[in-house]
């Protein structure tokens, strides 16, 4: 009976994973197929002759630059959002700055659909020459990540024992010193998880990039959308670029496995 239940549990678990991972598998499989095999009907379940030609094309065409752009934008904006966000969270936790109003203001940022913000923002950006620049996009992504970072960091900072801070202050530490030397190290793991999620969200972003980037800082998500056209659907490039876009996220999630549940849920739950 127990054995049966165990077997059943594993069977269900595996089945569920297969269902949810199949589309991901399919994307990988297509990216390794030869072009003529991609356009075979009915489709082949696995690449008969796996090869990296579809990826090589991305490099020779220079399309892979869009991955670098995404990396730069997501990386820089994450650093900035973490800096500004954890400071802000500390202000909220220790000084109750802004009280209810600040909390409402932060929630409000998550409230409106991005399309509502990006439309007026585009006109302003284009006017000031900020569209399709690294600076402009990093600013945008920083703002995009901030409410989330503050929300998350607030949860982690609240867990830092007040007594530790008090005793440090008594020892003559400045308030910022306390933040820097006591609070941050304690909340390190949680903040790191926060940063990873902030990075992933910016990395995945599409609408802002679609509107704001053209060439100089075009992200990989926009590049993929350009492969779909009335002329043609470049499945080989779409799949290869998508795989390149998924790999960093997969690695991060694998590394962050311990914080995955906590990271996702804390950000959502603590309020």
């Amino acid at each position: 009976m127990k054995l049966l239940r165990t077997t059943l549990w594993y069977a269900v678990s595996i089945a569920v994973c297969v269902v949810f991972l199949f589309p991901v598998y399919w994307m990988f499989a297509v990216s390794l197929k030869r072009p003529e095999e991609i356009f075979r009907s009915p489709p082949a379940w696995y690449p008969s002759d796996p090869q990296f030609g579809n990826f090589v094309v991305l490099f020779t065409d220079g399309d892979v630059w869009t991955i670098v752009n995404s990396l730069v934008l997501a990386g820089s904006s994450t650093l900035l959002a973490m800096a500004a966000g954890s400071l802000c969270a500390y202000g909220i936790v220790r000084f109750h700055t802004g009280g209810e109003h600040l909390a409402t203001f932060l929630i409000a940022q998550r409230l409106l659909p991005p399309i509502a913000i990006v439309f007026p923002l585009f006109l302003v950006y284009a006017q000031f020459g900020l569209a399709d620049t690294h600076g402009g996009m990093i600013l945008l992504y920083t703002a995009f990540a901030l409410p989330f970072v503050v929300w998350m960091a607030r949860g982690f900072l609240m867990e830092v024992p007040l007594e530790l801070e008090d005793s440090a202050l008594v020892d003559g530490c400045t308030r910022f010193g306390v933040f820097w030397r006591i609070v941050l190290p304690i909340a390190r793991n949680g903040l790191f998880a926060t940063a990873v999620f902030a990075f992933i969200y910016s990395w995945n972003e599409f609408l802002f990039a679609l509107v704001m980037t053209r060439n100089e800082v075009m992200t990989y998500t926009v590049q993929i959308s350009n492969y779909f056209g009335p002329q043609s659907t470049f499945w080989a490039k779409i799949s290869a670029m998508s795989v390149l876009g998924m790999i960093p996220v997969m690695l991060l999630v694998a590394a962050m496995q311990r914080y995955l549940v906590r990271g996702l849920s804390l950000g959502a739950v603590k309020g």
Binding site: T6, W9, S13, V16, C17, F20, P23, V24, M27, I38, P42, W45, A83, L87, C88, G91, R94, F95, H96, T97, G98, L102, F105, A108, Q109, L112, P113, P114, I115, A116, F119, P120, F122, V124, L139, A143, L146, L162, L169, T174, R175, F176, G177, F179, N204, F206, L207, T221, F228, I238, S242, M246, M250, L252, V253, A254, Q257, V261, L264, A268
Partner: protein, 306 residues
């Protein structure tokens, strides 16, 4: 001197406490974040309010004040209301399915068995992939010739099936729902998994000892305990579904015709392809009012519950 250093000197060193006294000092801490959010979030919104009373559009850029004309147009814009209705319809279908599937998975994975962590990590994957990539993925899955979905269906029906997922009848709607459910069920699952794991074990065991059926334990012990988490998770997903854009853009671009236009897609088309600057601004303002009232009500309920 950095703002933080200023804060350090201003804050009375011996009176750090949760409440009172040091609010002014906190301002320096929150200032950078608030500055960025005002610049990139609030100002564009205020600008939208102003523009919604003008008649900025395409080549007619006179910018005259037209009062509530854009709002009047909005009331009689059937395509707008259809898009809004469709957005809620997708929400009404996808959200309960995500919730129930996520809950079932969370209950299933309460068991502590070797390999559980691996399963959980694998299942989390869809939720961290770019929605845009997910949309492309499902476009590939649903391709009637080169995609596997029709082939799988054919295997069941034992004759070749050619379903035009992103084209025919109500299929485009369902392909969007499938992609949504696939991507965000894992999100629900992860959150509920943690929430259920946090439910007081003693209480559950006590209930079980009292002879309560497992189903009753779930309904009367687990569910009430995770209710706040549940509500917030649903709220987050509802907001995300409300802004649904990426997946639709990749699968159908709102077509065929206008049949899968969500509110975000509609606004994109009006704003960036139709140049209806002022009109889109008016939609933004109305959405903001509606959404904030709904959210305030919802949050108030959650707080009262606690």
């Amino acid at each position: 001197m950095s703002p933080a250093a200023v804060a350090g000197t201003v804050a009375p060193p011996r009176a750090p406490s949760h409440a009172g006294g040091t609010r002014a000092a906190g301002v320096a801490y929150v200032a950078p974040a608030v500055f960025v959010l005002v610049l990139v979030g609030l100002l564009p919104f205020l600008w939208s309010i102003w523009v919604s009373f003008l008649n900025l559009a395409g080549s007619t850029r006179s910018g005259d004040f037209v009062g509530l004309a854009n709002y009047q147009k909005l009331l009689s814009d059937t395509k707008l209301w259809a898009a809004l209705g469709r957005t809620f319809l997708i929400m009404a279908v996808a959200l309960p399915v995500q919730l129930v599937l996520g809950m079932l998975l969370a209950l299933h994975f309460q068991a502590e068995r070797p390999g559980k962590k691996l399963f959980v990590a694998l299942l989390a994957l869809p939720a961290v992939i770019s929605p845009m990539v997910a949309g492309s993925m499902w476009r590939l899955m649903f391709d009637h010739r080169f995609g596997p979905v029709n082939q799988m269906i054919s295997a069941f029906t034992e004759k070749p099936v050619v379903l035009l997922w992103v084209v025919k009848g109500s299929l485009p709607f369902w392909s969007i729902v499938v992609a949504e459910v696939w991507q965000w069920t894992p999100f629900m699952f992860i959150i509920l998994l943690a929430a259920i794991a946090n439910v007081d074990r003693d209480q559950m065991q006590a209930a079980a000892l009292d002879g309560a059926h497992r189903r009753h334990v779930f309904w009367y012990v687990v569910l009430p305990a995770i209710r706040p988490v549940l509500i917030i998770a649903v709220l987050i997903r509802a907001l995300d579904l409300f802004r649904l854009f990426d997946v639709v853009w990749q699968l159908t671009k709102g077509g065929p015709g206008n049949r899968t236009e969500t509110i975000s897609v509609y606004m994109y088309i009006q704003g960036f392809q139709g140049f209806q600057t002022s009109y889109v601004a008016a939609i933004v303002v109305v959405l903001a009012i509606v959404l904030s009232s709904v959210l305030m009500l919802a949050l108030r309920r959650v707080r009262l519950d606690r």
